[in-house]
């Protein structure tokens, strides 16, 4: 038997091994979130939408506000449980038009994070695969356990839902909503059902 280890073609974020997962964003600690979504639009268009970070705030439910200082730096305010928010400055570390955007949080972020969004061609005629990989370090001490808890439970779900919203918006021109009347007295017609 050959002794060399055969490595499969899976994206690193799907590895069972934590060290390999961390390689997805050249990280060594913290937790990794990875998710790919196919958007039925041309790669350049999807990249351009994303690159203008201000667009994302309108579509991503968990992002409350993004203040764009310049092309390299933006300030993110993201919702957290209990009506709280977490904030950081994101600095673009790599930018390959039509292909890739990578960022890292600046010092004094509430949650240290870094990540990359890759724009890959799907099969011909099928648009663009957007692959987001995010690493974050659970904050130490003062911000409290609730953030750590929130981070363990939520980011995967949030990233998944926000990617879906971006897809909906780029494909349909709107973010889908089942805001509907119901026989539940607590809900107004335009309140989300869940």
């Amino acid at each position: 038997m050959a002794s060399t280890h055969m490595r499969d073609d899976a994206p690193p974020t799907t590895a069972r091994d934590g060290d390999r997962r961390a390689q997805a964003v050249d990280g060594d600690e913290g937790a990794i979130v990875g998710r790919t979504v196919t958007i039925n639009r041309p790669r350049d268009e999807v990249y351009a939408f994303w690159r203008d970070f201000a667009n994302l705030a309108g579509v991503m439910e968990n992002v409350e506000r993004i203040d764009v200082a310049d092309r390299g730096r933006s300030h993110w305010v993201v919702k957290a449980p209990g009506g709280k928010t977490v904030e950081w400055d994101a600095v673009v570390t790599e930018d390959v038009p039509g292909r890739l955007i990578a960022w890292e949080s600046a010092e004094e972020a509430d949650v240290d994070n870094r990540g990359r969004v890759e724009f890959l061609d799907a099969a011909p005629g099928r648009g663009t695969m957007v692959r987001a990989t995010i690493a974050y370090d659970p904050p130490a001490g003062i911000i409290g356990e609730w953030i750590a808890k929130f981070l363990q439970r939520e980011p995967n779900l949030q990233a998944r839902r926000d990617l879906r919203r971006v897809k909906q918006f780029l494909e349909t021109g709107e973010v889908s909503s089942s805001a509907s009347p119901s026989g539940r007295p607590s809900e107004s017609p335009t309140e989300q059902a869940l």
Binding site: N40, Q168, S176, S178, S182, G183
Partner: protein, 397 residues
């Protein structure tokens, strides 16, 4: 407005609820003129579909008049429209492939997670059908919000009665797609389990597609009678051993295709079905696939099995061996309604398809709860119920 709401198992009420509003640019709002109760609503009524919430408005077979449009809707106020039960964006990969019920976008991001866990991918959306499929309000009400109204609604020309076109919303294309999935060839014998609305339309469609014979199976005399009028030979499963009968009637070859128009709440006398019922009520397994098992066993070698009947979870004792060893093809799915709208509307206009023969009752919205009870308890007599919001109430239901 007034609306029929689901409150729990076997508990449906008429409530006053807020009117719908335009939420997104492609939305429209219609004033309901006719809305039917479906076999799929029975699965909700019986509590078999998870993620219903008390207060949800029912109804996915809807039509009415456009009364409000968002800036990106292509509809015009005053138009009469039938609304497909599937909510579809028209632009995603699946919609472009005409797999409308698999739309990737209509199910809001917050309600997509559960079906992703359950089925591997988030499911499409429908009106009035649980939060698993989006939690959109249904149309058994005075008004309905219609998302993506530039894609789904079928504009009805003047002079066509509601009763003639309402079923374009669901059961007519469902019967049609069920027959299409049976891949009918000249000389074929098609066996259809269930003579409810879906089964009856599957029979009609199979004959239109050139089936040599259709053999229909149920036990309600009146429903079997309707199947017979449609041109099917009929079998009563309470009187007859179905597999034996199909074997004999086809000279030992078996039906070329079998269509399961029964779904997860199959009746059955077999011990398997009793075990399944106990499991379903204790949530150990949700589906009772007695009719599907029978369909797979009865189907000829190399034949096709088409499953429009709804299943939601896990089924025990699924005859995978028979499926594989006989080389069967199995096709299924929620109907891609929008794919069939034009061709079926044309056939209705040309008089090739009759949709009115199965309608047994019209009732007011206020009589909704009583109608649900009847639809559940008196299936033989109640073959299809249409609610009309404007209609006067029956006396002392």
């Amino acid at each position: 407005m007034r609306a029929v709401t689901w409150q729990g198992r076997h508990d449906v009420r008429v409530d006053t609820v807020p009117d719908p509003e335009i939420v997104n640019p492609r939305d429209a709002i219609i004033k309901i003129t006719s809305t039917a109760i479906c076999g799929s609503d029975l699965h909700l009524y019986d509590g078999y579909i998870p993620t219903m919430r008390a207060g949800d408005i029912l109804g996915h077979e809807n039509m009415g008049e456009v009364v409000e449009v968002g800036p990106k809707s292509t509809l015009k106020k005053g138009q009469r429209v039938v609304i497909p039960f599937t909510i579809s964006c028209g632009h995603c990969f699946h919609c472009e492939k005409l797999q409308y019920s698999a739309c990737d976008n209509a199910n809001p991001s917050t309600t997509s997670d559960m079906s992703e866990t359950l089925y591997g991918y988030p499911m499409g959306s429908a009106f009035g059908y649980a939060h698993l499929t989006g939690g959109y309000a249904g149309g058994q009400a005075e008004y309905l919000r219609v998302p993506y109204s530039d894609v789904g609604p079928i504009i009805i020309p003047d002079g066509l009665d509601d009763d003639k076109v309402l079923f374009l919303s669901d059961i007519l294309p469902t019967g049609w797609m069920a027959a299409e999935n049976a891949e009918i060839e000249p000389g074929d014998t098609i066996a259809v389990w269930g003579c409810g609305p879906v089964g009856l339309f599957a029979i009609q469609s199979a004959l239109l597609m050139g089936a040599h014979r259709v053999i229909a199976i149920d036990h309600y005399p009146h429903r079997l009678e309707l199947a017979k009028q449609m041109g099917a030979e009929v079998l009563d499963y309470k009187e007859t051993d179905i597999r034996e009968a199909l074997f004999e009637m086809t000279g030992g070859i078996g039906p070329d295709a079998c269509i399961d128009c029964v779904g997860m709440e199959s009746h059955g006398l077999g011990i398997d079905n009793i075990v399944d019922t106990v499991k379903a009520h204790t949530f150990l397994g949700t589906d009772r696939p007695a009719a599907l098992r029978q369909a797979i066993l009865a189907c000829r070698k190399g034949g096709r099995v088409s499953v429009p009947g709804v299943y939601g979870g896990m089924a025990d004792k699924f005859p995978i061996g028979a499926l594989m060893e006989k080389g069967l093809t199995l096709k299924s799915g929620q109907t891609h309604v929008q794919k069939y709208s034009d061709i079926l509307l044309e056939m209705i206009i040309d008089g090739k398809i009759d949709t009115t023969f199965l309608i047994s009752h019209h009732a007011s919205l206020e009589d909704g709860p009583a109608m649900y009870r009847n639809w559940h308890d008196k299936q033989d007599e109640y073959t299809k119920i249409i609610l009309r919001p404007g209609m006067e109430r029956a006396h002392a239901a």
